[in-house]
Amino acid sequence: MLTYNCLLMEFAVETRGLARTFGAKRAVDGIDLRVATGSFYGFLGPNGAGKSTTIKCLTGLLRPSAGEIRILGLDPATSAVEIKRRVGVVPEDLALFDRLTAAETLSFIAQVHGIPAETFKPRSTDLLSLMDLTDAATTLVADFSHGMRKKLSLAAALLPAPRLLFLDEPFEGIDAVASRQIKDLLQSFIARGGTVFLTSHILEIVERLSTHIGVIASGKIVAQGTIDEVRGGAHGRNSLEELFIELVGGERPAADINWL
């Protein structure tokens, strides 16, 4: 049994034996995650390794088949609403209402979180400006590009000023300027004591931003710790890409397709 002290919380996210099965397939196979409070945790893995399933379990969208989860010291089984008050999520599908505008989406989030109007308005203005969505504030989300949707989903996650952010591929489809601004924002969020749990296929970004990483392959954690710790366990390889390929067993001979 995990025991916690919410005030002196060492881990923002902790799981023990977390598993999720879909029929006979074990998408997540008894993983033990430890995401230190105030860390920027990069969660890596090849396609189909179980990253999104893990995030869905951690954010309450999927019920684990086995194991224990603690988010900010709370048990999602009994304190789901309380946890959601303190957590922001950018999920894989972005989870936006097509028929709301950008401003209305943020207003919806504010209402559900019970954020008063005087707090909501400046926050909304700041976030729309940061994401370069001010001009599109009254446009329906249905007419947004993928990049705009991603920015809005991120703005929605940040609006309630959460203590923990789950970001599933947040930089995919975002332009370089916005990407730079978002990276700066996330680093400032970490500096103020927030925690970020991020999945990304862009290893350079993970390497640059993350203080800690976890690597999942075939539903199991194959490495976890600070980047230096993980590097140490991987025969001193330098780049995260080489490290990642070695950990997930992805080294394959180059394809020889001469007709191409």
Binding site: T21, F22, G23, A24, K25, A27, T59, G60, L61, L62, R63, V81, E82, K84, R85, V89, P91, D93, L94, A95, L96, F97, D98, R99, L100, T101, A103, E104, S107, F108, I109, Q111, V112, H113, G114, A117, T138, T139, L140, A142, D143, A156
Partner: protein, 550 residues
């Protein structure tokens, strides 16, 4: 492919529970049953075609040819509305096909030929093939060849018309704002199609008095009927009939109808090709839709609700206001009673509406239609949020708040048109017992209170990915949810109706009706609250499944 989809939906997979497999299988079974049923229908139509051909050849039976005449006319009407009812046919495929090295003419031919798969067109084929066979059996070989040519020209016309209608619709929808308006107009027109024929017939009554057969015959045709008679000879189904029947008496008589049919087929194909090429030139959607803040209305909290439930309720209302299907839900209950009033005014509607409480009858009809029109939204209330449902599950919104918000949101969608309908009915046909006018909103409220938990439960059990821009089956709730929802609606109406009958007919004290129904309303509120307890558990258990519907 349909069979494969059905088998796949029945197979056990990790991410699909038994209830979901059952729900998906039910949804897929409908079209399969329809296809299976088409085989005997096709055989029957083939036989009718042969009988009609033989009847024309021998000059014995007229009825089968008349049947064919009306079937082809009906097929033509369905051809025009087909692309609206089945909007998925080709809109997205066009873009994908453009990536392939296929000539545009070939693309057009493949798209137009696909129209033969539409059930009403597929069923025309055995009919049109049967007629020349029947003529040949009757030893009228020259007429058989004429009928074959006329049938081919008619099919060419129908296929071209389908392609033209489909491409034109997609061209109209290419601009998103214009598309919203077009779909809204269509959505309002479609439910009225069943009523429109009534305007073609002469009235049964004048000033409340039933007309005799002779008096009715003496009346001039209605303006719509006169217009239809003037256009009739140029309608291709009529041209086909003329070509066959008059061609039999003398081959030269078939020249004009055959030529007009051929010309019509050529023109419609040319127009269809032009519209299709235009669609290929710019297949992407244009324009953006903006939404007003309505003076901050959406940011307010509905009295008596938590901020979260209020936000869900307003989101549901906005969804209805911003989609053609939702607008139809709001618009239909207002338009239908007005049409009924028009028919009653023309004497097409008998006693029920013309009796003392005609206004009240119209108001009652419109109010209950307002709840009935909610079915596509209310019986699929979670899946219509698409990815928005996941967003709600990521926020600190309890399942209770979600359910209350949805129930209130749906009530707001129905309340607007119901109120407008009651006011309009009162203004158009004033009068009636005031006590019954008071009882009406109470009866509607008690009905809705009982429908609401059933709607939430059915939405959780039978979710369906829908396109609320579509007015065909794509925008409907799951068939099982729709059917059970309709039954729950009818069952919920019964107590109010019985109490009204008790007060008006048995006790002969209509003034007691509001009191009776008020008490029932309070009881219904209690029952609704109790019913929502298991529904809350059900929805909580189905969150994983519901979050996949986008």
């Amino acid at each position: 492919m349909r069979w494969r989809v059905l088998v796949n939906s029945l197979e056990r997979t990790g991410s699909r529970d038994t209830l979901e497999r059952f729900s998906v299988a039910l949804e897929k079974l409908g079209p399969i049953v329809a296809i299976v049923l088409m085989v005997p229908s096709g055989i029957a139509l083939f036989v009718i075609g042969i009988t009609a051909g033989f009847g024309v050849a021998t000059g014995s039976w007229i009825l089968p040819m008349e049947l064919i005449r009306f079937f082809l006319l009906l097929g033509l009407a369905l051809t025009v509305f087909g692309p609206i009812i089945l909007p998925t046919r080709d809109s997205s495929n066009v873009v994908r096909l453009l990536l392939l090295p296929i000539p545009r003419v070939a693309l057009y031919v493949s798209q137009a030929t696909a129209a033969l798969a539409d059930p009403w067109i597929a069923l025309m084929v055995p009919l049109l093939v049967g007629v020349p066979i029947g003529l040949a059996i009757g030893l009228q070989f020259a007429t058989a060849i004429l009928a074959l040519i006329a049938g081919a020209a008619f099919l060419l016309f129908v296929v071209g018309l389908t392609s033209l209608a489909s491409s034109t619709l997609h061209l109209l929808l290419r601009d998103r704002r214009r598309g919203d308006i077009v779909m809204f107009v269509l959505v309002l027109i479609l439910p009225m199609i069943g009523i429109i024929p009534q305007f073609f017939f002469k009235p049964d009554r004048v000033e409340g008095r039933r007309l005799t057969h002779a008096e009715r015959n003496a009346l001039p045709p209605t303006p719509l009927a006169s217009a239809a008679m003037r256009i009739a000879p140029y309608v291709p189904s009529e041209a086909y009939r003329h070509a066959v029947v008059e061609g039999h008496s003398r081959a030269t008589h078939a020249v004009v109808p055959l030529a007009s049919l051929g010309l019509a087929a050529f023109l419609v194909q040319a127009l269809g090709f032009a519209a299709f090429v235009r669609l290929l030139d710019m297949p992407v959607s244009l324009g953006t839709r903006r939404a007003g803040a309505l003076g901050g209305l959406w940011d307010r909290v509905i009295p008596g609700l938590s901020p979260g439930a209020s936000a869900v309720a307003f989101t549901q209302l906005r969804l209805a206001l911003r989609t053609p299907r939702g607008r139809a839900t709001i618009g239909t209950p207002i338009v239908m009673p007005l049409l009924m009033a028009g028919l009653a005014y023309k004497g097409r509607f008998p006693p029920l509406l013309l009796a003392g409480g005609a206004g009240l009858a119209l108001a009652t009809f419109g109010s209950f239609i307002a709840i009935l029109a909610l079915i596509p939204l209310a019986m699929n209330q979670f899946a219509i949020d698409k990815a928005g449902f996941t967003r709600q599950m990521l926020t600190p919104l309890s399942i209770s708040d979600l359910l209350v918000g949805k129930a209130v949101g749906n009530a707001l969608i129905a309340a607007g048109p119901a109120i407008v309908c009651v006011i309009l009915s009162g203004l158009i046909v004033p009068g009636g017992n005031p006590a019954l006018w008071i009882a009406l909103p109470l009866a509607v409220a008690s009905t809705y209170l009982l429908v609401a938990p059933a709607a939430a439960a059915l939405s959780a059990i039978f979710p369906k990915t829908v396109d609320l821009n579509s007015i065909g089956n794509n925008g409907n709730a799951h068939q099982a949810a729709g059917l059970l929802g309709m039954l729950s609606f009818l069952a919920s109406m019964v107590p109010s109706a019985l109490l009204a009958v008790l007060a008006i007919k048995i006790l002969n004290r209509p003034n007691l009706t509001p009191a009776f129904i008020l008490v029932w309303c309070a009881v219904a509120f209690g029952i609704s609250r109790v019913l929502f307890i298991p529904v809350r558990r059900l929805v909580a258990n189905r969150v994983e499944t519901l979050a996949q519907y986008y």
